[in-house]
Symmetry: C2
Subunit: 370 residues, 2 copies
């Protein structure tokens, strides 16, 4: 039976690294002393095996371990558990990358829409997509809807709820989504904008499913989910339950688990069904490097088995004047998210949003004619 | 409206710490420039506020931030999101502790059974509880059931599935749980043991709920769940959906260093409904210190509003000869988990298990007579 190679980065002294690698191979498979196992098949096919150890610098190693694909049960949460469940509790180990068998891609199925589906949905041919965030939390539905109208009138592609907007007393989900969806519909009718509103769905899986049903009733075709908070099994379940919806993955709580961002936010979120993956851009409020950001984007959208590509969405403290630089860095298969900076324009919010949309629309056009 | 104080530990130079603290207060609340907010109520009641900054050593600070309770919507996932959603992506910040308002305790409800309920369920008056783990994964149901019989015949209180046992082709959940539950029932009838079998339930929330229903049909009253993999909202949902079941929380994917273990594994898992919280014991395969372990145990079981206490369950490479030391360290309101070391006894597995049970049963008795 087949194995998948998983790479862990381990701080260790050179004398201990072989034992450390073997301990991880056992921890992430049978999790018991091998001497206590009599079953030959388990010893041969199920116990993790150390495939290689590479020293990166003094005291830092990449350890390659082959884990039995069977142990994942082709289930998202169990896959994550086998990749990093117990070892996440070890302070000196991070999860770097994992080979995902093609059979697993076929099984999980990946994004419903993918890059081309999203482009078609908002009529964005060959250009990058634009997105903003509706906030702050604490506003009543009517005020959020008024903001949504002004952003939609500027012709932005997507307006997503801030991930802080959940189902709070001051702005219950149903009231907020009905009000904002109506405001965006009105802006579309009045201004010719093709903006898609993206509610943030939260809570237990059945609560989230009810929220998605309400979203569909409002004629809205996309939602945002936090896979690390709702759980990857449930994220995947919702994607397959609602094949007509696009799913934007938000990285909340994804940092606490010490999994390399390209693997978690790029590959795994795409595998489980993210059409868009939001992550902190370099040079903003977060500490990701340009290399890490490029690697997340590559993992999200490069050809991979039968999976549709997922749209990378760099975000976090972006401003309008950085648009050309960011587009040159990522290329057109990208969704740019500018939130606070557009909202800060206050009375000129619609104009700033239109300027953002125009700058993104013209960027690659200018290049190709330049 | 009330605020909850949350403490973040931040690496920063002294010159930047005030700005850094203010940035976290904004990130974990409105997540946008304050200058862009016109609503007076949001500015006054919703924006996080820095309540204090304390230097622990050069370059390391504890920052106290007051977050509006309203923003959590009294929902488990959203609470976690407000405590650490985006800030988990910052490498220089860890979440240390959070004040949880009593109203939240009443709302969430905590454990179904708690320490006394678990004691009553296994007839363990005044002593610590014993637990072992069924493994390795890869064995067919029949062989796992044979192991379960031998461990149950030794008179252990709980036999939990290894968290690697999910719903794999070589041992589907339904077959495994029926076989193991039957083996434990038989051991109880034949040996007078009062062992409780604890299946590990996994997958999406509806899959887990079906698994719990099957577990109940087999007359089994406890299950194990991985709250960080199924998602805390769903964990809490299952606890409330099945009030007759005891829930053991497994720390898979809970990470070592970013959320303080006493907060996550002790307080929050208890708040959401864990009757037992498993965590890596000091001196085993994991790197938790005795201080951290004691703090997890204290958080799990000390008096807290209306919540039942949660049983701490130190685990991970424990051996029989350490039982007296561990019991002296934790006291009787503890569940000891020894897995691999009992399974390693092979032909003497039942006797070793009985020795474990006897040592735990007599420990405090000897002390009080000594």
């Amino acid at each position: 039976m087949s194995r998948m190679t998983v790479v862990y980065r381990v701080r260790s002294n050179a004398a201990s690294i072989e034992a450390r690698a073997q301990a991880i191979a056992v921890e992430q498979s049978v999790e018991m002393p091998l001497a206590a196992i009599s079953d030959e098949r388990v010893l041969r096919e199920i116990v993790g095996e150390v495939q290689g150890i590479r020293e990166l610098e003094a005291g830092l190693f990449d350890v390659r371990i082959g884990l039995a694909v069977e142990t994942t049960g082709f289930e998202a949460g169990q896959l994550l558990c086998m990749l990093f469940g117990n070892t996440s509790l070890q302070e000196d180990v991070t999860l770097r990358c994992a080979e995902i068998p093609d059979a697993m891609c076929v099984h999980f199925g990946g994004p419903n829409f993918g890059v081309e589906g999203l482009r078609a949905a908002c009529g964005a041919d060959g250009r990058a997509l634009t997105c903003t965030a509706l906030k702050p939390q604490g506003l009543p539905p009517k005020e959020l809807a008024a903001l949504a109208w002004r952003l939609a009138a500027g012709g932005i592609d997507f307006i997503k709820d801030d991930h802080g907007l959940a189902d709070q007393a001051y702005s219950p989900f149903a009231d907020r989504v009905r009000a904002c969806a109506e405001a965006v519909r009105r802006a579309r009718a009045e201004t010719g904008s093709r903006t898609i509103y993206v509610p943030s769905v939260t809570g237990s899986t059945d609560a989230a499913a009810s929220q998605i049903t309400l979203t569909i009733e409002e004629g809205v075709g996309a939602v945002m989910v936090e896979p690390m908070i709702i759980g990857v099994s449930n994220f995947h379940r919702l994607v397959r339950q609602f094949p007509g919806m696009a799913f934007i993955a938000h990285p909340a709580l994804a940092g606490a688990s010490r999994i390399a961002p390209p693997l978690l936010l790029g590959r795994l979120f795409r595998l489980f069904g993210a059409d868009v993956t939001i992550y902190p851009n370099y040079g903003g409020r977060f500490s990701y490097s340009p290399q890490t950001c490029k690697a997340v984007a590559d993992a999200a959208r490069r050809p991979w088995a039968s999976l549709k590509p997922c749209m990378p969405c760099p975000a976090g403290g972006m401003t309008l004047d950085r648009v050309p630089e960011i587009l040159d860095f990522y290329g057109p298969d990208t969704m740019l998210l500018i939130g606070g900076s557009l909202l800060s324009a206050r009375d000129r919010m619609t104009q700033e949003t239109a300027a953002f949309a125009a700058r993104v629309a013209s960027h690659f056009e200018e290049r190709s004619h330049g």
